[in-house]
Each structure stands twice: as structure tokens, then as C-alpha cells.
């Protein structure tokens, strides 16, 4: 088991994540390499909050300069 897996297991087993269906699902998808699922989730969350996708992408890209 590599350190990344140990860290992931620790995050997954924390009560904050276990009781949060969104975070749990996101981590599960990240673990499985389901990028499309993660994208869909992000799009859904943006639409629920009324944030345009392009604006959200711009904000994320700003973080990486």
C-alpha cells in the first residue's frame, strides 16, 4: 500500500466524508478514475448554484495562473 492509498483510506474513513454523500461519491470517482462522473457532478453543482460553466472554469484556471 503506497502513501497515497493510505491517505485516501484515511480520508474515506473520516466521519466527515462518510456522512457526506457528495464528498464520498467524488472521492470514489477519483479513486476509480471516473473523470466523466466528476465532470458531471461539477456541472450539476454549478447548475444548482446558478453558476455558468465557463465562469466556473475561468475561476478554476485562475487558481493555476
Amino acid at each position: 500500500m503506497n502513501p497515497m492509498e493510505i491517505l485516501m483510506n484515511r480520508i474515506m474513513n473520516s466521519p466527515q466524508i462518510e456522512n457526506n454523500p457528495i464528498a464520498k461519491n467524488a472521492l470514489q470517482m477519483y479513486r476509480n478514475g471516473d473523470t466523466q462522473g466528476l465532470k458531471n457532478m461539477a456541472e450539476n453543482m454549478c447548475s444548482e448554484r446558478g453558476i455558468p460553466l465557463e465562469k466556473a472554469k475561468e475561476e478554476v484556471m485562475k487558481l493555476f495562473n
Binding site: N19, E48, G50
Partner: protein, 161 residues
């Protein structure tokens, strides 16, 4: 010259109010227990607020920790239960009140609604009704025919006589 007078010694240990370090106080334990801060378990709080209508609920009103937020309408005609689903959408369940007078007939009404809503049942019943109406019409025509033939035959018989 000092005299060993026991009465003098007694005088040394005078009662000093406020200094009770070595005095036995039977209420001390009780007082200590009362002074300890009591850790009260807080009841689980309910997230949500009273809203005018469903459109006034925004995504920020729904907690992202997976718990359900309840939003009663101000006129109490509906209660919206909202929760973030695992796919990143907000799932909504609407609760509507049932009046006491209607509550008794609710099961009967449900059956009626189900019966009325099933299209197959209504079409089948319509067909059967149409068939029955056709048969009744045929029977009426047959009865009219037979009655007319009988009346003619009686008229002929009278004419022969």
C-alpha cells in the same frame, strides 16, 4: 517561667471565621458536584427556514454535509425537504398536509384515482358499454318488428272473419 496550662493552649486555637481548611464540611462534596460545569447534550438541530414559495430557496440554504433541510411555506400548505444528492444535484421532496375530514376517505380516494387513471381499464369499459348499447338497440328493433308483425296478423285475421 512558663506553666503548662491546658487552658492557655485552648486559647491559641481560636475560632477564625472564613478559615475552614481543616474543618469537616458535609456539604462540600455536594457543592463541588453542583459547581462542575454540566455538559448538556444539544438536541440535533433542523436546518432550513420558512419560505414564501419554492423558488425562494437557494442552493446555499441546503447544507452540503448531506443532511436534509426543511423549508415550510409560510401558509403551511407545503413543506419542502431538500438534500444534496451524491451526483451533485439537489433532491426535493414535497410534503402536503392531509385534512382530518379527508383522511378517512383517503384510501378510498386513492383507489378511485387509480381506477380513473388507468387508461386500459377505461378503454376496456368503454368497449363493453358500446357492445351492450348495440345489443340493446338490436333487441329493441327485434321487439318492434315482432310486435308489428303480430299486429298485422291480428288485423288480417279480423278481416278474414
Amino acid at each position: 517561667m512558663q506553666m503548662n496550662n491546658p487552658y492557655q493552649q485552648q486559647n491559641n486555637f481560636q475560632y477564625a471565621p472564613g478559615y475552614n481548611a481543616y474543618q469537616y464540611n458535609p456539604w462540600a462534596n455536594v457543592q463541588r458536584m453542583q459547581e462542575q460545569p454540566q455538559i448538556q447534550q444539544q438536541p440535533p438541530c433542523i436546518n432550513g427556514k420558512i419560505v414564501q414559495d419554492a423558488n425562494s430557496i437557494v442552493a446555499n440554504d441546503v447544507p452540503m454535509d448531506g443532511s436534509v433541510a426543511l423549508f415550510p411555506k409560510s401558509d403551511l400548505s407545503e413543506i419542502y425537504a431538500k438534500q444534496w444528492a451524491s451526483d451533485g444535484k439537489i433532491s426535493t421532496v414535497v410534503f402536503k398536509p392531509i385534512q382530518n375530514a379527508c383522511a378517512d376517505n383517503s384510501s378510498q380516494n386513492e383507489q378511485n384515482v387509480k381506477f380513473g387513471l388507468s387508461d386500459d381499464a377505461t378503454t376496456a369499459l368503454d368497449k363493453k358499454m358500446d357492445e351492450l348499447l348495440e345489443k340493446i338497440e338490436q333487441l329493441e328493433k327485434n321487439i318492434e318488428k315482432t310486435s308489428s308483425t303480430r299486429s298485422r296478423s291480428t288485423v288480417k285475421k279480423d278481416g278474414d272473419a
